[in-house]
Symmetry: D4
Subunit: 220 residues, 8 copies
């Protein structure tokens, strides 16, 4: 592959899937990298991939376990056994607009063979919907909270559970949200202990961190 | 008063008290301004006044209806009839650290002859305490929410009531709260409709706005 | 509606219209949500909707009380009785460039059944035009001021009236206005008491807040 | 003067006074520089000078035409003929808190032998006071506007006159005024043509610019 | 003209041309406004106008004194006598990339009937080219300096002349220039006295201010 | 305790110690709160407490298991059994200047009965020192990295381990580190997966999060 | 060339190539400038040039020593003898995404007749790859480090070598990297002495500085 | 030394002096570290050291080659042979206010045994003074430019020389210079090629980088 070495920016320590960050790469480049990664036998995750890329991969006929997450534009090749964690990781989000980031986190967890449970439409302006889910949240080993606009959901969830919370600010919103900075600051300033934060819109990073915690909690 | 005209920066339309913003003025200047304002017969409010200034005013022997709010350092001279609104304005705050700003709002409401009710220690990380107060909040004409750190309380309260909410971000917090900007952004980005915002730590402005609304709601 | 739950981010407490925030949704999704919302019998408001979406709704033949606000791209379905407030809410704006935000506020007020009066072309660099309107402003229960560039209009209006002022900074301007931040800061720092602020370009939020105040003032 | 060359940072082209920027210099250093500057026979201006420095200069007995501006902490040694411009430069300011900056501008104008007229207490929340001064403003060659908080005064004045306006934002205010940035942005975004801006609190620079314009207008 | 009142945002005090700020307006709207403005008999200036708009105006056949400035996209209708000032206003710029802003300033000056002289390619990294022009600069009543990147040119020019300098930061540059903020800050912090600043890329405002000064200097 | 309710801002879900955030409270207030918290029988943690406060607590004679962390100014009352986790939590820091924050994290972990191991003086400019510790790091369940200046240490550690990393930016540094923002951004942008971030200087929050993860990993 | 003088913004002192910064210029303009520059007999460098421009230059048939760097979009005309430095300048970069900037630096060095060696895929999350290159780095006279995301690579390299390091932050990354500011701040705050920084994405500037240093080190 | 390991944050690769960054350390700690560093026989540099610390070191009687730089508060123990470079490094600065940073750079160069030449009072508003020094600058291997306020000096010097320029922004200035950010941005955006930048006020880092370059240029 003369044109480019495999992107190791988000590379892979033991137990992580092979990962390809697609923006800025041509379909040909992505497929070429994908092929070389797939040979290693691990799960392969391609993030922020346009649907055409997914289709092109399908059209190669080389992969029959390909999965595409429309909202987050994630491609997952599951070559390892499917998600087998005992406990699911709740991924909580306030609005449908946060779903792309939430499903990137979900796909990442699945690539790391962790079960997930997507809980959405539970914003702080309608708390009763969140309260219906309290039990699920309180039995988890780790919770991922994805929220844009004012990001207050992370604090509220953090106040309800006693496990670690991984918070993902999203760039959803307008006016003075500054592409997610408002939510980022809210989460960093959370008055609920046990909340840690990843970068804006970085569902991948939240998925990795939550999976690592869930694995540890299940003794792996 | 050769040395300085009365500070009209935060001056006075009909129905407002006379107001003196004290920082940067000497005790002598404040007292001199206070005297001239008091003569008009209205309530007089001096904000951010050190206790020594209050004591000096007491020592003049000229005022026997002086009140000092320790936390917010506000002096109130009540020359008009006391707060007579039918409905109290709830002033809600998350932590004790927000009390200085909350009580500045409270003093301002009282100077405008509005009753208030201070509800504190109801942060979003312990929502059950807030829920005990829902009835009071829902019967109000307007609610003031004072919150630092991540400022999420405004959204949560906004989701519980159907009256206007005036939100005051405070500079309480540390690290990336940037002197209140984190809370300010949170409140501006609130996903709860009906929330408007005043400047960081500006309890006075919140008190004026809430009082004007409460008056209108009581037909004045 | 498998593809998406209704967006509750800007949802609805009693007395508010059903609201759909359109950006990021396909025409099909918007219509589907619109249909389900309309069934509840309340007014339905769709903000930031392209004209094609409005046309598609018209073409369904299901709605004959649809109204489209060109400038703000707002769709309003009036299923309740029309605006019936006794007092109109003045919506004041400096330049024609601020009209999209001003009319979003206007549509929102109407969806909440409040009468409005749009006063524009009254920038601070030509104050005589504003002064022609002083009477109207002084008889209101609440005034909405929409201003970009330097946002000074909120302070000037605030100095003329004794009712609450809801200020909306807009992203109109260029150079160091930073997408509305200049106007936002101006309004937060207003030296006129009684001014509260909503997020940049958020005519919807201003409309809700002003409507809630006007209702309270009319004893509802 | 081994310890330090004369500060030329704000130095001197023809027609300007000798200038000493005092912060960070000891009284001894300032006096020594002052002495060497005074020998040239021009006016000497020392900005941001503590009163002790002024007193020490008086105590030398070497200067009998020393003037001290308390509010701005400016020392002026008038060795040239006094201000002799035909037209006075109006220096307009909203509140007493802006006076230190306004008087620095005033002292600078006087050092450049320009007459000035200080107009204060004319904030935008009380426009009638400004309107009383319109005639004076409209007969000027240049107007200096000094304003903190939201800085709207520059736009309003700019809308009333047809001469150039030099605007000085001040760091007066609190909360999200960010040490004068709110006022700075307001002024840069002024919708009134003919307004130019100097740095925050920089009365000296405004004074120089206004004096240069006034001189040109009087044919010098 | 039902669709829109004439834009008064950058409106017109005596001696200024009629001005139309074009962005966000359709060609039809611009022509309609242009027609109504032209009737008053003054010069008409349309800024940031696409060439098609100019062509459409030409095609109306109504105007034979139309001029189009390609770089700045400014339309000028000269109905008054042409620029007749005795002294030209030098407009100095560092690189060709700053020419669009410089020519907007130039067009504005001409609309105000002031002669100009464009001096470009005199950046601080090649000072000899600037020094060739020193005489021209020193005989001016006011100098406009337009500079992007680091904006140092304003200080250098300010150090060479004894008249007022109006500095315009431009958004030219890349990396951490932040759309002109680097140049803006440089100019605000200029160590050369007599420099005032307008907003980023605002050649129009610089042109107005410089013209007002030049007029005053020529006794008008 | 009339003067103040106990500060619940950083309050306590099951398994957390009682916590008192001391800044802004008088010694009397802290002791009074401390007494009431201690009665519950749990560990009590007082953060950012001046040594005088610790001494005053000792002087009451009521507590014999008090511990004071000089660098972080943390008081710990250990009423529960001492740290009993099987695995220690490595707390890694680059320089001695980061120790105050690191030891706040350490005290918090101990208050939550987790063993810790402080590894310091392992900055990225001297990587050999870090590499001596790789084994310890790789056998941990979670690692805390505390780093100021450019904060690169979190990425480097994240690249060496396969467990979650909790990163704490500190305000150590000068020039353009902006009170820790440089380190915060570095950590949020870490190219090593599995790194999550808490607020600047917030050792307490890092300690809580790391303890929760370690507990989960040990099956509690 | 009436339409534009040659762009001297990034002009040329002795020993530098002729340089054309292409953005904002038409192909015709670039070719015309290129022709005039090429006549001087030096190397000519055109940065940020679209491939069509390169092709158009080839199609003129006037130049047979043209080279195009695809990733950085740089055109180099080598009219002088090829790179002849004894020592190569290592240009180190973390990921493939940084290659455009790295190759702009490389092309610039070559235009200044310095040999280079591109070392990539050596991010701090996989340090073993960097360590394979330590010898090469330690024998250099100067090292260029190009890094986006968190930019930590500059510190790590700075800790391994004893020659000057020129660091280039890139705008690679997402979320709170703010178009390269995160990397810029990291590099400015580097704890490794000997690191200096150029502007975001400015491979050209890094190439010039490194070439100047390498030349000096080789006694030229 | 139980209390603290030696600060390695700014530690030492071959050829650098031992360095102690003093802020935040007690006099006792500094002396203890100093003693241990001095034993190694190299030069020792203590930056930002109060004069009392220097005096205490003198009073130990252990060091007779101690030197104190008053302005920058730097202590230098010269145990190696004195500065022996053939070429001096010019350290250029605009005003006396920049001298503390300039002399920190100077002391660092001397600790690295490089000769220096301090050229000050050559700001861009008085270029003739700079031009007197052009010869000295043009014969150097590297030039250090230290400038606050608008930082334009780096560009001007960069345009005059053909060697690398290391630029140090300083926090000198007021208003919108933001603690040196204005100068930092100016320097990063310099239109003169060959300029690289270190952190605000970081004379130490500039001294190290310049010394490394000078050494290389002299073949070491």
């Amino acid at each position: 592959m003369g044109f480019a070495k495999v992107d190791h920016h988000r590379h892979i320590r033991q137990g992580l899937p092979e990962v390809i960050f697609c923006p800025g790469k041509t379909a040909e480049q992505i497929i070429s990298i994908f092929d070389s990664q797939a040979k290693k036998g691990h799960n392969v995750l391609a993030t922020r991939a346009e649907k055409e890329v997914y289709q092109a991969l399908v059209d190669t006929g080389r992969y029959d376990k390909l999965k595409y997450y429309d909202l987050s534009k994630t491609i997952l090749l599951e070559q390892e056994k499917p998600a087998s964690s005992k406990t699911a990781i709740p991924i909580v989000t306030a609005g449908t607009a946060d779903l792309p980031v939430a499903t990137e986190a979900q796909a990442t967890c699945e690539a790391m063979r962790q079960k997930t449970e997507l809980i959405y439409d539970v914003g702080v302006a309608g708390l009763h919907r969140l309260f219906d889910k309290v039990k699920q949240l309180q039995s988890a080993n780790v919770v991922v909270v994805v929220a844009g606009m004012e990001g207050a959901l992370a604090s509220v969830v953090g106040g309800l559970v006693s496990c670690p919370v991984v918070a993902v600010p999203t760039s959803v919103g307008y006016g003075a949200n500054f592409g997610g900075i408002a939510a980022l600051l809210t989460m960093l300033n959370s008055c609920a202990a046990g909340v840690t934060v990843v970068n804006i819109d970085n569902g991948f990073s939240a998925g990795v961190s939550a999976s690592l915690i869930n694995r540890k909690a299940e003794g792996k």
